[in-house]
């Protein structure tokens, strides 16, 4: 088998291609970079921490470009929101990184960061899961009553509050069909950017729910619009990491080969499902990442003495990528079966597009 060496470790090439492929599918489908999955996976493969982080940043930027192009073709990008938000996001990331440096300087350990990650992701998971289940139930009822179901259904009233804030200037987002104060968009960008910078992640898993539940876009538009943000923020991150010599370009090359196929499939898969299906996968991704971070937290708190916890964390890190990938592939498969009038599980029809 063709393998190569990174910092003294032999890395199996097919695992890099597979990682690029699986995270490409997930990223293209729910609009995240997937750094919270890829960086731990690369460390498992034997990359040093700094190299894992840099290689991941570079791969995310490349993958986001591929996904964005496909989502643009599918009409899933609102350029007005994307361009209004990007400045706030960059400012927020810079503030988040400075906050992180400050907390390190005053002696707060990594435990606090891990605990903060767990709290943020758990909160987002609970809200997304509860709201999506309500939407799913509503769609199921509408379907049984013979009413037509839209491409996206949300029961959250939070966006109406934010859209009614009367502070000028307003922006008219044609694709998302909404008018909203530009300050809301900028502040959403800053806050999600701060969280992303502070937690050391790309921030897609925070921005996508924010676009859906605060700004009020559909799930499909949130995915495409967030990927544009990732192109900019990920590109900046990739540049910074490359200049610091933290990137292994051979590894990036092989991961991008996998991502080229995965990101195309993940992006196209969104056209087979309705909004709540995307939010379900997003919430699953959040809870799995939360459990992974909680395991690392327990491992750190126990002083790295619990051997089996390390094994479980490795299996879980790789397992969550495979799980999300299989779920997305099966949703597409169920959608195709449903379109051809074949039997599908009873929970599937409200989540997939019929024709």
């Amino acid at each position: 088998m063709f393998d190569f060496t990174v910092a003294g470790h032999v890395v199996p090439v097919f695992l890099l291609v597979l990682t690029g492929f699986t995270v490409g599918i997930v990223g293209g489908f729910i609009g995240v970079g997937g750094g919270y999955m890829v960086t731990p996976a690369l460390i498992v493969f034997g990359f040093p921490g700094y190299m894992a982080s840099g290689t991941d940043a570079c791969h995310i930027a490349g993958k986001a470009v591929i996904s964005s192009i496909r989502h643009r073709q599918l009409g899933n990008i609102d350029w007005v929101i994307a361009l209004s938000m990007v400045g706030g996001t960059m400012l927020g990331v810079e503030l988040g990184v400075r906050l992180l440096n400050y907390t390190k300087a005053i002696g707060l350990s990594g435990v606090v960061l891990l605990a903060a990650s767990v709290a943020v992701m758990l909160g987002l998971f609970i809200y997304t899961q509860v709201e999506t289940q309500k939407s799913h139930k509503k769609m199921d009822e509408d379907s049984k009553a013979g009413r037509e179901i839209g491409r996206d259904v949300k029961v959250s009233k939070i966006p109406l509050f934010f859209q009614s804030i009367p502070i000028r200037p307003f922006i008219k987002a044609g694709k998302a069909r909404l008018v909203i104060s530009m300050w809301v968009i900028v502040i959403v960008g800053v806050i999600t950017g701060v969280l992303a910078g502070f937690l050391g992640v790309g921030g897609g898993f925070i921005r996508v729910p924010a676009l859906v539940y605060v700004v009020g876009t559909t799930s499909h538009l949130a995915v495409g619009t967030d990927l544009v943000e990732i192109v900019v923020s990920g590109g900046y991150g990739a540049l910074r990491q490359s200049m610091s010599g933290n990137v292994d370009f051979m590894a990036v090359f092989f991961m991008i080969i996998g991502a080229m196929l995965g990101a195309q499939f993940g992006s196209l898969a969104t056209s087979f499902v309705r909004g709540p299906a995307i939010r379900y996968i997003l919430s699953y991704s959040l809870i799995l990442a939360t459990v992974g971070a909680a395991m690392r937290l327990v491992y750190v708190l126990t002083g790295g003495t619990v051997e089996w916890l390390s094994f479980v964390a490795v299996v879980f890190t790789l397992g969550e990528m495979i799980f999300l990938c299989l779920f997305i592939i099966s949703l597409v498969w169920f959608s195709i079966r449903h379109q051809h009038g074949k039997t599908v599980p009873p929970w599937v029809p409200p989540l997939v597009v019929k024709a």
């Binding site: 695992l15 498992v44 790789l318 397992g319 495979i322 299989l326 599980p345 929970w347």
Partner: protein, 36 residues
């Protein structure tokens, strides 16, 4: 088995079990040596 397919939570558990099994195989065959 029917419950695992017809119930969304059951399907979730089924896929997670399959995925963790696959990743455990992957770890055993390809990664154990790298982790030492």
């Amino acid at each position: 088995m029917k419950w695992f397919i017809d119930n969304m939570f059951g399907y979730w558990i089924l896929l997670l079990a399959i995925s963790c099994g696959l990743s455990a195989i992957c770890y055993e065959y390809f990664l154990r040596a790298l982790m030492k």
